[in-house]
């Protein structure tokens, strides 16, 4: 398969970037999207040009490191998968593919397609944890948790922190990410204890870092590679408002 790629190139955080057009040819349909990028970079290196910088790590959909806004979609045109999980057979032969970095004021571009997603780490540090004194490991069945709660918690815990939610949202809101983290802990007895403090601290951090206000468009859940539901946002709203009214 052959493709025309329009890729955002930007030297560093301070420079102005622009789109550059590249051609790749003889790509097998079973090549993954990131392998296609590797082939492009290999060609560029052979031509003595600067390869395209992009983020990736596990390449199996679990680390959340890959990003890329591909033809208008965070993580490409397929639903419920990360960029590293899409294959070139999903595209038409000869298609032009536009590849952009995440665009959000809180995620500045560092180079080419790489953005700084440190803001999500800062939100996590503000409250996305459980404080425990660890003694020896307790019996696994010592704390019974209803299956429904465990399932909901696990659904939320599937969030890989990739940033697609804020990158997709027209308001640059990080609500889906914050909601997933608050919700996954709020549903478990160990996390419940610090629920109120966690919701307040994480929302305050999110606001401070310049993320926008959610207006319930639902674009985040459509683009989230882990299909996190906005029902978790409803739970975050509940957690936060009840914590505030208890103050």
């Amino acid at each position: 398969m052959n493709f025309t790629l329009k890729i955002w190139r930007q030297k560093d955080a301070k420079s102005h970037g622009a789109f550059e057009t590249y051609k790749v040819s003889d790509i097998s349909p079973d090549t993954s999207f990131l392998e296609m990028m590797d082939i492009l970079n290999n060609n560029l290196i052979h031509e003595g040009k600067e390869p395209v910088a992009f983020d990736h790590d596990c390449r199996e959909g679990i680390c959340g490191m890959c990003s890329l806004h591909i033809n208008g979609h965070a993580h490409g045109p397929e639903q419920a998968v990360t960029t590293c999980q899409i294959y070139m057979r999903k595209f038409r032969d000869g298609q032009t593919i536009v590849i952009e970095p995440w665009r959000s004021a809180a995620f500045p571009v560092i180079k080419d397609l790489v953005v700084d997603r440190g803001a999500y780490d800062k939100i996590l540090q503000a409250g996305g944890f459980v404080s425990v004194r660890t003694n020896s490991v307790p019996d696994g069945n010592a704390i019974p948790i209803p299956k429904k709660d465990a399932d909901e918690s696990m659904d939320a815990a599937a969030c890989v922190g990739c940033g697609a939610c804020a990158a997709t949202c027209k308001n640059g809101s990080a609500m889906l990410f914050v909601a997933a983290r608050v919700s996954s802990l709020a549903k478990l007895p160990q996390g419940r204890v610090e629920g109120a403090r966690r919701a307040k601290a994480m929302v305050a951090k999110m606001d401070e870092l310049g993320f926008g206000n959610c207006t319930n468009t639902g674009a985040c859940q459509a683009e989230c590679p882990k299909s996190i539901s906005i029902a978790h946002i409803a739970r975050l709203n509940r957690e936060f408002l009840s914590a505030k009214f208890e103050d």
Binding site: K6, G17, F19, H69, N71, G72, H73, Q79, V98, E100, R103, S104, A105, A106, V109, T168, K170, N171, G172, S173, V203, A204, M206, D207, G210, F211, G212, N213, C214, T215, N216, T217, G218, A219, Q221, A222, E223, S229, I230, A231, I233, A234, R235, L236, N237, R238, E239, F240, L241, K244, D247
Partner: protein
Amino acid sequence: MSCFLTNSSLGKKLVMSVTGCFLVLFILFHMSMNITLLFSPEAYNMVCEFLGANWYALVGTVILVAGIAIHFIYALMLTVDNYRARGKQRYAVTVKEKGVEWASKNMLLLGWIIIGGLALHLIHFWSKMQLVEIMGSHYFTPEIDGTATVINPANGALLVAYTFSKWYNVLIYILWLAALWFHLTHGVWSMFQSVGWANDTWYPRLKCIAKIVATLVLLGFAVVLILMYLNSGDIIAQMSHWVPEA
């Protein structure tokens, strides 16, 4: 307490939701008053008299204005924040994400249309009814069929029939109602989400309720408009000589 309603994103959304809910309730109340016109212009005038320039109607007006003002100011505040959060550099390619409704991304635009329609509406009715009573009597005297006719501020039915005897007013109001329909199809379920009263089971139900409420509002107002347009001659003839009971 007072601060999270102004400085936290979720606090601001709570204000948006509560004022939005209040406006929806007001709109339903206003619609049910208009419906009386379908049965009897005299009954409608009784409602107008009841809601003239007396203390409870004035208190209601002040609360209503505050509700609209707060909803509007918060809408602008949220939008400015969100514009900044989106950043200066925009995507070259954007799409409509799966399941995302147009109205949800255009609430502010729809709100501006609603505000525009509201201004016109106040000129058409409020300035000739409650305002006249507040200011003392400067009756509105339009020319109807070439003769200047005095419209008493309590003669709401005549004013309505006069206003909607003109086709362009009917058209403008219907466009206004259409914007409100879109605003409500998103707003009515969104206000539940913003306070956290929603989950995956309830989304389809809430969205259905939102469409029903929006459509009810659209039809409830539009029916009155259209019937007024069609019957304006008869009602003007019937109500021209109406005087309020002493």
